[in-house]
Symmetry: C2
Subunit: 257 residues, 2 copies
């Protein structure tokens, strides 16, 4: 650290900056344990509180993770699972695997998902508009899932389907009644996916999402609002993906129209 008496930045920032430098220059390898807070406090002639503050800054940047009783560690970057614009492409049918499972397999992981709940609901205003259904009735089927790669929760997924389409298809059951999954069901009903519309945002997770996705501090989520459009341009399904950004990315390889 440079001349402390001249430096007007808060001490906790200075310590954070110094440690960040050390990490980025490779003095603390990925996964390595940093000196304890008490050791750092002595080194920087600061109170332990102040060191804790500095480490919280780095944790918030996603650079380090504290583990209670063990120490503070340089965060190990995970390879990203890339959800692609081709994730619904018919070309993936041949393998019988969804793109998520393919990507997991490519990384030597086992992908799976759990059904949280399935319910027939009244849509809110916006959803009713998007799906061209009535706002007054229980006109929509909602399915909520969590996707896992090995033991790590990766996405929180909610799918909304107009009841006129879901009706009588068995989509009220956990088990999806089609070998090509939910989109196989839609095709049988005469809705061939022709275009998709994905609206993407990023934000910090809600406390509920922190629980579901087992998120540590400093990890934002990516939210994708996806709409499927059929051969007539009619929307027939909306899905929201909430993804942990430390394990996920998106990829759109598309023609310019």
């Amino acid at each position: 650290m440079t001349n402390q008496t001249e430096d007007r930045r808060p001490l906790s920032r200075q310590i954070a900056d110094e440690l960040r430098n050390e990490i980025e220059s490779g003095q603390h390898a990925s996964g390595a344990k940093l000196p304890s807070q008490r050791q750092l406090a002595e080194r920087f002639s600061a109170a332990r509180n102040t060191v804790d503050e500095a480490l919280k800054i780095l944790a918030q940047e996603g650079l380090v993770v504290a583990e209670h009783g063990r120490g503070v560690f340089v965060r190990v970057k995970q390879p990203l699972i890339r959800l692609g614009s081709d994730r619904y492409s018919p070309k993936h049918r041949e393998t019988g695997l969804s793109p998520f499972l393919i990507e997991c397999a490519r990384q030597g992981k086992v992908g799976r998902f759990e059904v949280l709940n399935i319910e027939r609901i009244k849509p809110n205003k916006e959803l009713a508009k998007q799906l061209h259904v009535s706002e007054k009735a229980k006109s929509v089927l909602r399915r909520e899932n969590v996707f896992y790669a090995d033991a790590d929760p990766v996405y929180r997924v909610t799918t909304w389907i107009p009841w006129r389409i879901a009706q009588g298809t068995g989509l009220l059951q956990e088990e999806v009644p089609h070998q090509y999954g939910i989109h196989g069901v839609f095709e049988e009903k005469g809705h061939v996916m022709t275009r998709i519309n994905d609206e993407i945002t990023a934000r910090m997770p809600t406390p509920e999402e922190v629980r579901y996705l087992n998120l540590s501090p400093g990890i934002p989520v990516i939210e994708v609002m996806h709409t499927s459009l059929d051969q007539d341009g009619e929307p027939y399904e909306v899905t929201r993906f909430v993804m942990r950004s430390d394990m996920n990315g998106l990829s759109y390889n598309v023609p310019v129209e």
Copy 2:
């Protein structure tokens, strides 16, 4: 707050949860000032430090913003600027405006950008591979910009162009030498944009990005690595957008192939 003696969560969390509830239930309107830290400390029978901690949790979630000397305020949500998959579409040529400017105008804002620097550089390994250029020479032109909506910085944009394409086009000057912008220049050189590939991630900003984008705590950035492909499938330009997620979203409306 419920029975404090039974609650095992840290006091700062309890305070944060309580205040979050109050905000979400509308007891503190958007933009409203919360009670001062000293008042809250008294109300919750806690040290001011503890209240400060609680407010930092909410700030990190993007719910409130502290303003030094003024108070802590409920964050006002900004309307999002949506960068679309059609942002390069020839159909926007007629207006003579870029999609960014159109979107700004729609929100009653004035869009503009500043050139930070323009330089001929040696690409790193990954970039060399993406652009099919040599890693050993100064084979790439880099242009760095910041985009603004009114006074707010919105994107940090870096564009890399193979020097063999940029050479002799005037792209070394600040002023882009074509009425249709930089992509007009590429077309004149025989590269018609036929496909794009966008790789999207989200993360917390680096301290440098915090400075450039004037970011407050709890706001992640969205990073888009964009590649333009010409009629032969050849990549001829890579652009990185770093966008503040509180003012930006993405939108992909694309065919299923």
